[in-house]
């Protein structure tokens, strides 16, 4: 490996770690926002995953998703509990759906659509997990509010991500700085 490619690789890794740190920061911010119902989530920490779509390759994107889960669970101390299963299932399924949509459907799906699809994938996975782990068939009772709130917050997040990707000079420099 040449010194140039080595330094380029460390820059790429720094991008991933920076986005993962941003996800961790946003999940801390979300934790501090009071919520009217316990299962309501805004999903702010998904913003770096949306931004990362245009910057990272498949491998880096997967690492970002894993770092998001690991970082959050280390901070909250839930790494060895059932909660990490929800976090892992939700993040990986939403990352997969968003990545596939961005790669193959970018021309007909906006960032808002990608964000909404990712949130739906995450919420459906988490509902399935809650059916198996927590509530049994009663999980269907919390499904409608859970999915509706997820849809609304993901659309708002998608609007912000769309604006950010259009206006941010940092994002533009990341895209031009490294060919994926």
């Amino acid at each position: 490996m040449t010194p140039h490619s080595e330094s380029r690789q460390s820059t790429r890794i720094a991008f991933v770690a920076l986005l993962a740190a941003f996800a961790l920061f946003l999940s801390t911010v979300e934790y501090m926002i009071p919520k009217p119902v316990p299962f309501m989530r805004i999903g702010l920490a998904n913003l770096p995953l949306l931004i990362g779509l245009g910057i990272l390759n498949e491998r880096e994107y997967l690492i970002l998703a894993l770092l998001k889960v690991l970082g959050q669970s280390l901070v909250t101390g839930t790494l060895f509990s059932y909660i990490v299963l929800f976090s892992f299932g939700g993040t990986v399924s939403s990352a997969f759906v968003m990545y596939v949509l961005y790669r193959y459907g970018r021309s007909w799906v906006s960032m808002i659509g990608i964000s909404a699809a990712g949130a739906m994938a995450s919420n459906i996975t988490q509902l399935q997990l809650s059916r198996v782990i927590l509530f049994g068939d009663a999980a269907r009772l919390i499904a409608p509010p859970f999915l509706i709130i997820g849809l609304i917050t993901s659309v708002i997040l998608g609007v912000f991500a769309q604006q950010f990707t259009h206006q941010s000079r940092w994002y533009a420099s990341c895209r031009h700085g490294g060919d994926r």
Binding site: I13, A17, L70, F80, S81, A138, F164
Partner: protein
């Protein structure tokens, strides 16, 4: 042995005693023990989320009637078996959550590249928390976030893993052994029905 590793190992050894516990009183006592363990290792206990979990999981189990019929609410049967099963499951989940808090309280460090990446993530996280205070909501927000990200991308970040982890003293090791023995004893008492089954 490092304190972080000792807590991880203690938690892993205790895990089956909690997962396999079928006695409600046994799991209740184990849950209280693990909560106290987490509290004495710097973690916080919040009553509301645990209460919500306990009530919602118990209520969800009422949909499948089981055991002694206690009463009916609008034609819906409330059964003792379903209520106790839900409470046991909720207690198991709460116990596992606080065991996880205890295990993570030693700040476990991952080896190799993953460890370096997580370390780098936390270094950036600290920098974001510090720099975020300089962002004014009235400024153009995206431009302000841009400045922050440019500043962090250009920073020289030390990615080496700090080696300041504390070594466990004999007293800490003995304490961990005591926790393992007591939590397994509660499991044995539950399994051998030395503890009342409540049903």
């Amino acid at each position: 042995m490092k304190v972080s590793n000792l807590r991880l190992i203690t938690g892993l050894l205790v895990l089956p005693a909690i997962l396999l516990q079928e006695n409600l009183l046994g799991i209740g006592l184990q849950t209280v023990y693990v909560i106290v363990l987490a509290l004495t290792h710097g973690r916080k206990f919040r009553i509301l989320p645990n209460l919500v979990l306990l009530i919602s999981v118990s209520a969800a189990h009422l949909l499948q009637p089981n055991g002694l019929h206690l009463l009916s609410i609008g034609g819906f049967p409330i059964t003792l078996g379903a209520l106790l099963l839900g409470a046991r499951k909720a207690c198991t989940l709460i116990a596992l959550l606080y065991l996880s808090h205890f295990m993570a309280s030693g700040k476990p460090q991952f080896p190799g590249r993953l460890g370096r990446l997580i370390s780098l993530q936390f270094t950036f996280f600290d920098a974001i928390v510090t720099d975020w205070q300089t962002i004014h909501p009235k400024r153009p927000f995206i431009a302000a976030v841009d400045r922050l990200l440019f500043g962090l991308t250009g920073q020289e970040i030390d990615t080496t893993i700090p080696t300041t982890a504390l070594s466990a003293s004999l007293q800490t090791v003995l304490g961990s052994i005591l926790h393992i023995v007591l939590l397994w004893l509660l499991f044995v008492f539950g399994a051998m029905e030395f503890l009342p089954s409540l049903i």
